[in-house]
């Protein structure tokens, strides 16, 4: 295991008197093994192993699902069959006892933005039988039109490069695009047009509205040396400060990572295609080739539960195996 401690209720961070862990935010990674259930309430985070989470009495909640980085078309050594592992992920979604209300896909649907890759992905993802909300990853904008193919397929009703928002079960969902017009030497980028839209989008909402924000590249700075962050992410988050519950869901880095800061909890999902190394542990963020039998422990899906009233949020990351 990595040097990061596996989170559990026993190892919950020490918090200030007001219940906010200002300084030592929770940051953790899970590499393999069982999933982790995260419950976050008023900035207090605690986690339990997946086994205990599943044994608990299921509460009636809004449940939705996140998948990410399916990279359909990828066929290199780290996973020669990215389509096959996406199929397994969808099969796992179909076995969930409680059917999620919908699914979000946090980008890199395809590897090279080819029509066939999008077609293959769509064909499999629709087998989940639930609505899907997409945001593009940088791999989805590689067509000659630099994103036209993505927008034609997934962008109906979206603004700009594909951003939009919607409401479900009292929760306001915001889909952001931070993979266009990237600047040399820089990070992910939202741009002024999208930031203005975001500010207006949340302007009329009561602060008690739970928000879920999703985008491909992490909105928080994970590891700038590898471009893992969003240059104007802080500005976006500044518009969300007054809200009591903000959940930020990202992909891009192909591993589970989480952090809690005040009322904002950040979470990245595993890929369904191939893992990437932990920050700084390899010469580059390229696909991680694992020993035989280890791959599917590092791929997976995430289920998110909202329980109304007490406002806890739980994210369960489930690997395809293990």
């Amino acid at each position: 295991m990595s040097r990061h401690e596996r989170p559990s209720s026993e190892t919950a961070p020490r918090l200030d008197a007001d219940g906010i862990d200002r300084r030592g935010f929770l940051e953790c990674m899970t590499w393999a093994g069982t999933g982790i259930l995260w419950s976050i309430s008023g900035g207090v985070a605690s986690g339990v192993g997946l086994g205990r989470a599943l044994a608990a009495e299921p509460q009636k909640a809004l449940t939705f699902l996140q998948i990410s980085d399916s990279h359909v078309g990828f066929d290199k050594a780290a996973n020669p069959d990215a389509l096959g592992t996406l199929r397994e992920a969808v099969a796992r979604i179909r076995t969930l006892k409680e059917k999620p209300a919908f699914m979000i896909h946090t980008g890199d649907i395809s590897h090279l933005s080819k029509d066939k890759e999008f077609d293959d992905a769509d064909q499999i993802i629709k087998e989940a039988g639930i609505p899907v909300f997409y945001v593009p990853g940088e791999h989805d904008l590689l067509d000659d039109g630099q994103g036209k193919a993505y927008l034609d397929r997934y962008g109906k009703g979206a603004k700009g490069a594909g951003w939009y928002s919607y409401d479900h079960g009292g929760v306001h969902f915001i889909a952001l695009v931070n993979v266009v017009n990237l600047k040399a030497g820089g990070l992910g980028n939202l741009g002024t047009e999208q930031l203005e839209w975001l500010e207006n989008d949340v302007a009329g909402l009561p602060s008690s509205t739970p928000l879920v924000v999703f985008a491909h590249i992490p909105l928080w700075t994970v590891y700038p040396e590898w471009g893992w962050g969003t240059a104007d992410g802080l500005e976006a988050l500044s518009y969300l400060k007054r809200f009591g519950s903000v959940t930020v869901l990202n992909g891009h880095i192909h591993q589970v990572m989480q952090k809690v800061e005040g009322n904002v909890s950040f979470h990245t999902a595993r890929s369904t295609a191939f893992p990437q190394p932990a920050p700084g542990t390899a010469p580059s963020p390229g696909p991680l080739k694992l020993p035989a039998g280890e791959l599917k422990k590092n791929l997976g899906i995430a289920t998110v539960n909202f329980v109304r009233g007490s406002e806890p949020l739980a994210i369960i990351d489930t690997p395809l195996e293990g």
Partner: protein, 115 residues
């Protein structure tokens, strides 16, 4: 790099160059420069060439990359593994470029007349 002034048939000259540089050498001819992309890095990160030089980028990673000039003088499509992109530099100047997929990857081509 100088052109060989040897009064020999071209085949002999090429053979001589191959022998001189060995099998591992990349700059086979004076006018060609190759920049390889390995581990999300342009190598060499900076090259200086004379006007008229063609620079070829080769992607050796398992992940696609692009080669995009900051001032839009050139922009490659996504280069998959072993994909190549060439651009002939005719105008002197500094060309800073990056990968639009992984913008932390940056490089530079300096074009100036030989002297």
């Amino acid at each position: 790099m100088k052109q060989s002034p040897l009064p020999l048939p071209p085949q002999v000259a090429v053979l001589a160059i191959c022998l001189a540089f060995g099998a591992l050498a990349t700059p086979a001819a004076a006018e060609d420069v190759t920049v390889s992309i390995d581990n999300f890095t342009f190598t060499p990160a900076e090259v200086t060439v004379t006007p008229g030089t063609t620079v070829t980028w080769v992607n050796n990673d398992d992940i696609p990359h692009t080669v995009v000039d900051k001032k839009q003088a050139f922009r490659s499509k996504a280069l998959d593994t072993e994909g190549k992109f060439s651009f002939t530099f005719t105008t002197a100047g500094d060309y800073s470029y990056f990968c639009s997929l992984h913008p932390h990857m940056v490089g530079k081509v300096i074009v100036k007349a030989g002297g």
